[in-house]
């Protein structure tokens, strides 16, 4: 069977596909969240240094990973929209931005609540924290710029440029703990070294991260379906869709 990848590059074919996929991602997110929370609170042992306060890690790290990863995916879709002038790519970028912003906020919030008992401060102007805050501003700036321009195709192009310039911030966040002397601890998990934590702690964190992935995909697909309907209202295929329930 020959797969035609461009078939789903059009909103007409992507819209029903996204609708079929959403329930599966929601289901996966729900199962993984229950399993992840069980491991986080009932299996993972108490940390010998930080006591129970370390349990914030199970949302803090997955949320921080998602905040960076969603930004890269968003910028990649925006770039594809800019390069190939495909409207679905730009819609995907717009659909990802709010979810990315929410995860950035969660990473900052849980970080503050973890910082207080471990460092004695809710917030410090340290390289890791500051660059993550800039990431939140980049997401908000992307959404604000898109909303400020009336013509959606022009808004796509302008915000795509902003998203691409902001990509520079992601490696800065990731490597900030290496490049600067920071209060924030180094990476707990890296590609080159063995993880510096108990196996059950690591497993709980990875399952929570997977749950965040599934949730993000479901949320972005649900949002892109709204965006498709909003932006293609005049199109014939949407008018035909109106005759049958979805």
């Amino acid at each position: 069977m020959k797969l035609n990848w461009f078939k789903y590059a059009s909103p007409v074919t992507f819209y029903p596909l996204a609708g079929k996929l959403i329930p599966w991602f929601v289901l996966a997110a729900a199962i993984l969240t229950v399993a992840g929370l069980y491991l986080s609170f009932f299996v993972a042992p108490t940390d010998f240094q930080q006591g129970e306060s370390y349990r914030i890690i199970f949302i803090h790290v997955p949320a921080a990973w998602m905040s960076m990863f969603i930004y890269i995916v968003m910028a990649a879709w925006a770039a594809a929209g800019l390069a190939f002038n495909t409207r679905l790519s730009s819609m995907m970028a717009s659909a990802l931005a709010p979810t990315g912003a929410f995860f950035t906020f969660i990473a900052l919030w849980t970080g503050a609540l973890w910082g207080k008992p471990t460092w004695g401060a809710w917030w410090v102007w340290d390289a890791r924290l500051t660059s993550e805050l800039i990431l939140l501003f980049l997401y908000v700036g992307f959404m604000a710029l898109h909303a400020a321009i009336d013509d959606p195709r022009r808004a796509d192009r302008a915000s795509a440029v902003l998203a691409l310039v902001g990509v520079v911030n992601v490696p800065i966040i990731y490597f900030s703990v290496k490049w600067w002397n920071t209060l924030h601890q180094g990476a707990s998990v890296s590609m080159t070294m063995a993880p510096k934590m108990a196996a059950t702690m690591l497993l709980g964190m990875l399952i929570m991260a997977l749950a965040c992935w599934m949730y993000s995909i479901a949320a972005a697909l649900a949002r892109v379906r709204c965006i498709i309907l909003e932006r293609e209202q005049q199109a014939d295929w949407i008018a035909n869709l109106a005759k049958e329930p979805t």
Partner: protein, 57 residues
């Protein structure tokens, strides 16, 4: 079992405020996003139905 009782679980070794503050706000943010998506979906559906009525006329 790590926890001796429900109170022990809620106390989180004295870090209850920080741990539950993190998880509670995360839950609120995610529920808020789901509600926002639902509201947006409803608004689009409404606009579409209005349009469908116009087309049929």
């Amino acid at each position: 079992m790590i926890w001796k009782s429900l109170d022990d679980f809620i106390a989180m070794g004295g870090y209850g405020f920080y741990v539950w503050g993190s998880y509670l706000v995360t839950a609120i943010v995610i529920i808020a996003e789901i509600l926002m998506l639902r509201a947006r979906r409803r608004a689009v559906e409404k606009a579409r139905q209005a349009q469908a009525v116009l087309i049929q006329r």
